[in-house]
Amino acid sequence: MSLHILDLVQNSLEAKASKVSLNVVEDLAGDLLVITVRDNGRGMSEGEAKSVVDPFVTSRHTRRVGLGLPLIDMYTKLCDGRLEIQSQQGNGTTVKAVFRYSHFDRPPLGDMVGTIRTIVIANPSLDFNYCHAVGTQSFSLSTREIVEALGDVPLSFPDVIVWLGEYLKNNLARLYGGVTDEND
């Protein structure tokens, strides 16, 4: 699932977003997993937003078939969930994927540390916000906060790479009660 999240964020980047928010909610009481990616990119028209789950719709010219959204759509349906796309031309896009948390076919979240670390370090000028909740615990991180603390030190600085990996690992472990990650 963490790979689909990376894929959604890449869509936002391709839509020229300067700001992307990622929310992951593991609602244990409601038995739901909700992943929301919101961006301020170029957005889509209503028709476009409706048709993007059709694998033969893509705005790219280099390849005929888009894979990203149709695949995620399929997974949500498989897991008693749904994919909602809200978008307005020129006004950004919100993609929300809902899954039944305990569904047998729901893919595990997987390597969230790898996904978040990639997004943060490979996009230093993106205003990226990540919020992850598990039950009543939550964790949030913003690229801006990190960049402000770092001043002129780049995000790809060796010690920063190590720090970010550890920071994410510590905080995600805390979300899961400090014990082993259910998704490993």
């Binding site: 790898g114 996009n123 010690d159």
Partner: protein, 120 residues
Amino acid sequence: MKTIEDLKRLREKVEAQTKLRYETGTRIIVGMGTCGIAAGARDVMSAILAEIARRKLEDVTVSQTGCIGMCEKEVLVDVVRQGEPRITYGKVTPLNVATIIAEHVVNGRIVEEMIVGKMD
């Protein structure tokens, strides 16, 4: 437990030690379209970050890009050394990363057998 405060201390340490010169450094760009991700781009990126950290390469920056239409050659990794042509490597796996970094990024020797493109 790591905190944001660690970064402020790191910043003071770095500012005291060196004059940062990362603008003059090498850029590494990883293809992260769906095709790249499906072919393992995130793990390649993680391997690149690990290698930068291990070798303490302070003047390398990384970025991501979308699909450029060579999906069958993903994972694509571009290396741009300051003032040199942009070299595109194809079918990169986490196992190739150490070689590309040691040879090309650190020593400036292009890894010919993995190249799929060259651009000025």
